[in-house]
């Protein structure tokens, strides 16, 4: 589904990604983790072309992201993305947030889009808030709406860029529950997150990054049981002690 081959990226002389390669197969859940500044957010943004990269190739469902001839808008409309700061559109009601891209990008009718949007809103448990505006919801609620908004486009895979990092501890679980459910339904997911409980529960593989490189790319049990690199061992020791 997603194939990342030897991707490198630099801003001026600063190397952000160095020779990164990994795969996400259909129905797989991959968790990308690592210390801050390790390039994990940049990597996931390269997958739908939000960040350009200088060398290597990324293909999503057979379409090359870096190819200048690729219709990026079309590709992005098939790849759901959830952001750290939710990024709902504050001037639109929740319903409009859920429907606008369906109507403007996919060309669905207003009624069809509303139907779909409200069904997904119900699924994330927020049907009662359809007429509200994003500023009137809590962070956790906003993030669930953001997930529903991405799902409304019927994506072939979902990218999560630290979806719980900006949330109060009490709200993290309501978002993770939605993500776990999604994973169990077989959605292809690439998640940048530090939620190791989530990773243990649903991830197929863990990609560990440090200083712009993929240091470890292992099955979940191997990664948690016996990480091969010293850097990953240190990282796990630090985040799992509490």
């Amino acid at each position: 589904m997603i194939s990342i081959q030897n991707v490198s990226k630099h801003y001026g002389t600063f190397q952000v990604l160095t020779d990164c390669s990994t795969e996400v197969n259909k129905g797989e859940v991959i968790v990308v983790c690592g210390p801050s500044g390790s390039g994990k957010s940049t990597l996931i943004k390269c997958v739908n072309g939000l960040e350009p990269f200088q060398s290597g190739t990324i293909t999503v469902d057979g379409v090359s992201v870096g190819d200048p001839k690729t219709n990026l808008s079309k590709l992005r409309s098939r790849v759901g993305m959830v952001f750290q700061h939710f990024e709902l559109f504050p001037h639109m009601s929740i319903t409009d947030n859920l429907t606008i891209a369906q109507v403007k990008v996919l060309g669905r009718s207003k009624d069809e889009a509303t139907d779909k949007g409200l069904k997904l809103l119900d699924r994330v448990g927020l049907k009662a808030h359809a007429a509200k505006f994003p500023g009137q919801l809590s962070g956790g609620q906003q993030q669930r709406v953001a997930i529903a908004r991405a799902l409304a486009m019927d994506p072939i895979c979902m990218l999560f860029d630290e979806p719980t990092s900006a949330l109060d501890p009490e709200m993290i679980n309501e978002v993770l529950d939605v993500m776990v459910e999604l994973a169990q339904e077989g959605m292809t997911m690439m998640c940048v997150t530090h939620e190791m409980g989530f990773a243990r529960k649903v991830a197929n593989r863990i990609v560990f990054m440090d200083q712009g490189q993929i240091v470890e790319d292992d099955a979940k049990d191997a990664f948690f049981g016996n990480p091969r690199s010293e850097r990953a061992r240190q990282f796990l020791a630090k985040i799992l002690t509490h």
């Binding site: 943004k45 739908n48 939000l50 990026l72 808008s73 079309k74 992005r76 409309s77 098939r78 790849v79 993305m81 952001f83 750290q84 700061h85 990024e87 709902l88 559109f89 504050p90 001037h91 606008i100 891209a101 403007k104 990008v105 996919l106 509200k132 505006f133 994003p134 500023g135 009137q136 919801l137 908004r149 991405a150 486009m153």
Partner: protein
């Protein structure tokens, strides 16, 4: 002081006899409003376009837009007005300048030059505010629009501009007030707008205090109305749960 106040001058007839001084003032008011409003609409359109171009991820386009802003922002308004009115018609190619001078009435020439001058001058300032409004939005908003499959123009249209314009209503109000006040400069090319009519009244009636008090009050009324209208715009565009709303 020995000044003879005489408020009845506004009702007395002008030397040519066909009307009163009050009508002169009101026709000046009308010109000021027409001139400023048309210039404001053009400034808003040009400024929005230029402001947007300053924020697009294209070096040539944003450089071009910056050059535009610096050009119109860094030359005094009066000098720009003289260029539009006295210089441009002489150097316009393809007979356009001659057409301007020969086929348009002097009044239309003055009005057009003044309108374009005010519009371009103000558009540079509007552009700066539009740019600031867009840059004040969280960076992720652009990414979120693009990630949903919106093209860049769609992202501006549906995601960035609706919020950016809401943010800049207060500074745009100041610009709108400014364009009405700046329009007084256009009396220097002979356009009979409010300030020019006021001066004409002084010349004819020798009652400077009454004349200037009258035009002062009229400018004040215009700007109070503009502020009131912009308040309504601001209240209507308010986003629930966001920035200073309930």
């Amino acid at each position: 002081m020995g000044y003879q106040w005489n408020w009845s001058i506004f009702g007395s007839t002008v030397p040519t006899g066909e009307t009163t001084y009050l009508v002169w003032l009101l026709s000046g008011l009308q010109t000021t409003i027409l001139l400023s409003l048309s210039a404001w609409l053009l400034a808003l359109a040009l400024g929005s376009l230029t402001g947007v171009l300053r924020t697009v991820p294209s070096k040539p386009l944003s450089t071009l837009a910056s050059a535009y802003v610096e050009l119109f922002r860094n030359i005094p308004l009066l000098v720009q007005l003289f260029i539009w009115y006295f210089v441009l018609p002489e150097i316009l190619p393809f007979g356009l300048g001659d057409a301007f001078k020969q086929q348009l009435s002097p009044l239309t020439q003055q009005f057009l030059s003044a309108m374009l001058c005010l519009a371009f001058f103000t558009s540079a300032r509007v552009a700066e505010q539009v740019r600031a409004g867009i840059n004040a939005l969280p960076r992720g908003q652009r990414a979120a629009g693009l990630a949903l499959g919106f093209t860049l123009p769609q992202t501006y249209r549906h995601v960035l501009l609706p919020m950016a314009f809401r943010l800049i209503v207060p500074p745009l109000t100041s610009e709108c007030l400014n364009i009405f006040k700046n329009s007084a400069v256009c009396s220097t090319i002979g356009l009979l707008e409010l300030a020019a009519q006021g001066r004409q009244l002084v010349d004819y009636t020798a009652q400077p205090y009454e004349s200037f008090i009258a035009i002062t009050l009229l400018y004040l009324v215009i700007n109070v109305v503009v502020m009131g209208l912009m308040r309504i715009v601001e209240a209507r565009a308010r986003v629930p749960g966001y920035l200073g709303s309930k």
